[in-house]
Amino acid sequence: MSSSGCNHTQELLPAFVNGTLSKDEERRVREHLTECDVCRAELASWEAVAGATVAASGKAPAPSAQAWEGVWARIQREEAAAGSPSPVSLVSLVWQLLKGQAPLVRNEIWVASAITMALGCVVALLAATPSATGLALSMFAPLIAAVGVAFIYGPENDPSLELALSTPTSPRMVLLSRLTLVHGYDLALAAAASVLLVAVKGVSLWPLISLWLGPMLFLSALALLLSLLLGTTAASLTAMGLWGVRLLAEANVGSGLGVWEGAALVEALWASTPLLVALAAVMLAATLIFVPRMERLA
């Protein structure tokens, strides 16, 4: 037997003993062993080492039962200390989610919202008085947002919804991220329009924003809830109808004709009050809670 064959075999012997050689190597070692006394002695030596190791390691005790409880306790302690996932990973998670949902929102929403807002801007710019400017903007912004939001969810708006729902992203997260995208876009449009009006017409910014912000949040939250319950068309029509009533009341109060007695009440309800914002929040919460259930009803 050549000594190089022995060297090679002896190098492979430990792995031969623990059974991690390839089939081919194993066969060659076995062939060599049948005709080499030296390597068989080596094998016996490794087998003794392996046997003693197995016996020694097999005697190792199992960890105590408290060790497992310690693992959980430590994880919970660390997560409590961290408060939440690290800000960096949270930001990237949100970014991934928004980026993934953006292409799934109907394209028309972006264009239609921008055009309608531009129209509102023109009307506001042409208004004769500062209060008419504010009024014009506050008439357009909420309706744009509400109709846009009515289109973000549901099988009629999203052929790939089923696919989106089979991913680890929950229906709730899908809805919330689309809402953030569309409503964020509409908020940005309305804010940009406000800044433009401040620059051109010299009205003050915060009173202007407070004119449209509350109604916008409320009408959008309502439209979203209705779009899930009744569908996009019903939600859009309801939002437009409600808004029409408000326009009527506004015209009634503004003209001072007093034709309609409820007009002042309707106007008061639509003012940007904490109550209106709170109602919007309640409706949004209800929507998010019931999304998964509604999905099954659809």
Binding site: T20, S45, A67
Partner: protein, 204 residues
């Protein structure tokens, strides 16, 4: 001899199939772990805590430190599961985490892990031709001597012969080149043989 070999081959083939299925199941568990599934951590723990603990006891005889590092290991697995690429087996991954945690813990306590140079001194300077001494030794005596080997020797032997890791997997856990794994196994064997020449210590 032939019949034994056939049986040996069949057993290994069967063991291989079982191992593959277990490895698939392991990967599924870690995927769930990455999604923050607490039950998955419990399953992983029930599969591997004893093995990891046994390995840790090869590194430190202190049970208390061993359990602390065991907890460290599973907390770290929970945190880093999303980074697990599936390149190595879950077992190798866990042993690797355990080893790093153990080294950190031992360093914090200023307990040194023996270096390779010191280990070479512990081993017989010249490989003896008398391999039969190990094969002829009484099993209980040899087992007791293995328990008293230097941590790095015991660690290599345990990973390789008890947990049946391959050379490559052992190298991955120990973070050393393949050649070092082979020489460490040989050194461990030589140290074991050398220890047989010393008088047996009283069994506790």
């Amino acid at each position: 001899m032939d019949a034994t070999h056939t049986l040996h081959t069949a057993t290994q083939r069967f063991a291989f199939g079982v191992k593959e299925r277990a490895a698939d199941e392991d990967r599924r568990i870690v995927a769930r772990l990455a999604r923050g599934d607490g039950r998955a951590l419990e399953e992983l723990y029930s599969r591997y805590s004893t093995a990891v603990f046994g390995y840790l006891l090869a590194l430190t005889p202190d049970r208390r430190i061993g359990e602390e590092v065991l907890q460290d290991t599973f907390v770290a697995a929970w945190r880093s599961a999303s980074g697990y690429q599936g390149r190595s087996s879950v077992r190798t991954w866990l042993f690797g985490i355990a080893r790093r945690r153990a080294h950190d813990a031992l360093r914090r306590r200023r307990l040194n892990v023996t270096s390779d140079e010191e280990l070479a001194v512990l081993a017989d300077p010249e490989p003896g031709p008398e391999e039969s001494s190990l094969a002829a030794a009484r099993q209980e005596e040899l087992t007791a001597r293995v328990s008293r080997l230097a941590p790095q020797h015991r660690e290599a032997l345990t990973l390789f012969f008890f947990h049946d890791l391959s050379h490559e997997e052992t190298a991955e856990v120990l973070e050393v080149p393949l050649g070092t794994v082979k020489s460490r196994l040989s050194n461990a064997r030589r140290a074991l043989r050398k220890s047989l020449e010393e008088p047996e210590q009283g069994e506790r």
